[in-house]
Homo-oligomer: 315 residues x 2
């Protein structure tokens, strides 16, 4: 678990603005579970963070100085330079926010990476279809809460797992047919009660006992989309699975994925999500911390169940 | 682990022969790891064995009395009535051995269920292609030894895991490019030495530390065919996986399967395997026990590393 003294808040002079560059005053910073993986010095799908450098990640801000006709002063943009108050970058590395009529910070959540992760993980990786029984872990999180709502919008039966009465009530409010409170008892027992006939799809944000419960409950030809294993990002312990052999009998198909695999299909995402937003089918919740000094605390909250919906820091 | 006193050898009168039935004198009986699963009283892809009834399973025999023109006396047949010296059954439940010019007992091995499991698991479930680096566990077993040879016949690089110097030498003889002796050290270390660039395909007969090693070594978009988890058939302990999160970063696709899912494609199997047999590309090894009283001992040998190639009992 990252502690405060693993981070340092450092003042540096503003960088000069080169040709084709813009200066962005950040308004919203994203903290996401995948960032924990980049803190380990191992080969992975993205290189590890460098010691002494700012952590990268999603950010929303406003252009305050511009050497690019594409992004004039005042433009709202998204970029990946992460944990800092001000960013200087090539205009081509920033995307102007599309005009979908939602609050800016939604582009770090439902209309950003977490939303895309939910959308492509559920519909492409797990091939979830109307009528399927879908189980999703961390259902009160940024990704999970969007999975619940997309699944309901598509006519699926949804069981969401979350920790504690408040989160469970919110997951119900999002439209989940059943909720499993993992703090109230074993996940496997809760899931078997909620879905006595079993599940067709599991959207995994957690790993561990949630994955094991999904194995136990899996119906024939169940599909598992493995999006994250928040349980083990901070933990060198092996995962214990009691029901792994179920993969054989139920012919389960387990697929890991990274949202960037689907960037070429972004058009589908904006079309569907934009439509559902306009129809009022998508609810959104944010847990907001204030000021850049709150970044470490907000980040840790992702692993200790401290957030409902998207975890953000406002500058 | 099934002990001798879990079995009973019982004399019963020969059944009378009904219309359309044949009496088969069994010559070869098969023991297979999946039978252990049917000894548990749980819902699975096949119903559990009934207490006090003979265990079912593959058998090869000769028709000694016939009420069916389709299967005259002297016909060599295969059936699934299993652990008994004599079987009385409808002619439609027995298949005459196809004339491929091999020894009868091959139809319980490379030309039977283990061979089909190897063929469809490697080529269909794992979509293994020429040039792929393939890792197979229990590579000296009936299924694994056939996987090694099919993979080599198709132009793949093959790493086989087996226990002990004799088995490893035999796996090498089958054409494996590298062999990992799991009794000589951790599988993960052996596999990383044999395949420093990683693997594209894993054919799992074992689960446990072999599966974990494959996760560690998996390249981007690796495919895992999960055929068996011999490590846990007799064991209620959970499986411990240290590298499961690799599923995400490497976008691994893990699929469980049962060979009967592919019976409709049996024609492909006989065409390819028949061809390789004629070209001398397939080696075969059998571990043979004698007499029906040896069945429990032969069966236990599957779980204690007692067999090389197909485990059989000759009557």
């Amino acid at each position: 678990m990252p502690e405060d003294d693993n981070f340092a808040l450092i003042d540096v002079p503003s960088a000069p603005l080169g040709a084709g560059q813009v200066r962005v005053a950040n308004r919203w910073l994203s903290v996401d579970p995948y960032m924990r993986g980049r803190m380990n010095d191992v080969k992975s799908y993205v290189p590890p963070f460098a010691l002494g450098e700012p952590m990268q990640g999603g950010a929303i801000g406003e252009v305050v100085e511009s050497n690019s006709p594409d992004l004039p002063v005042g433009a709202k943009v998204q970029h990946m330079l992460g944990w800092r108050e001000e960013a200087v970058l090539d205009a081509a590395e920033a995307q102007q926010l599309p005009p979908l009529g939602v609050e800016d910070q939604a582009y770090l959540g439902q209309l950003g990476m977490p939303g895309m992760t939910a959308y492509f993980g559920l519909l492409e990786v797990a091939s979830a279809k109307p009528g399927d029984v879908v189980f999703v872990s961390a259902a009160a999180g940024a990704v999970g809460s969007t999975v619940v709502q997309i699944a309901k919008a598509k006519g699926m039966t949804v069981i969401g797992a979350a920790g504690g009465a408040d989160k469970c009530a919110w997951v119900k409010e999002l439209g989940a047919d059943h909720v499993v409170d993992y703090k109230a008892g074993p996940v496997a027992r809760g899931l078997m009660q909620a879905a006595p006939e079993g599940i067709d799809v599991y959207f995994d944000n957690v790993g561990g006992d949630h994955l094991d419960a999904a194995l136990l409950a899996a119906r024939l030809h169940a599909r598992f989309a493995i999006c994250g294993m928040i349980d083990i990002y901070n933990d060198a312990k092996p995962q214990e699975l009691r029901y792994l052999a179920k993969v054989i009998g139920a012919r389960i198909n387990i697929r890991g994925f990274i949202v960037s695999d689907f960037f070429a299909q972004m058009g589908d995402f904006y079309r569907d999500m934009g439509g559902w937003l306009k129809e009022g089918k998508l609810k959104r919740h944010e847990t907001v911390h204030e000021g850049i000094a709150a970044m470490p605390e907000a980040f840790r909250g992702l692993f200790t169940g401290g957030n409902m919906g998207k975890m953000l820091v406002r500058l």
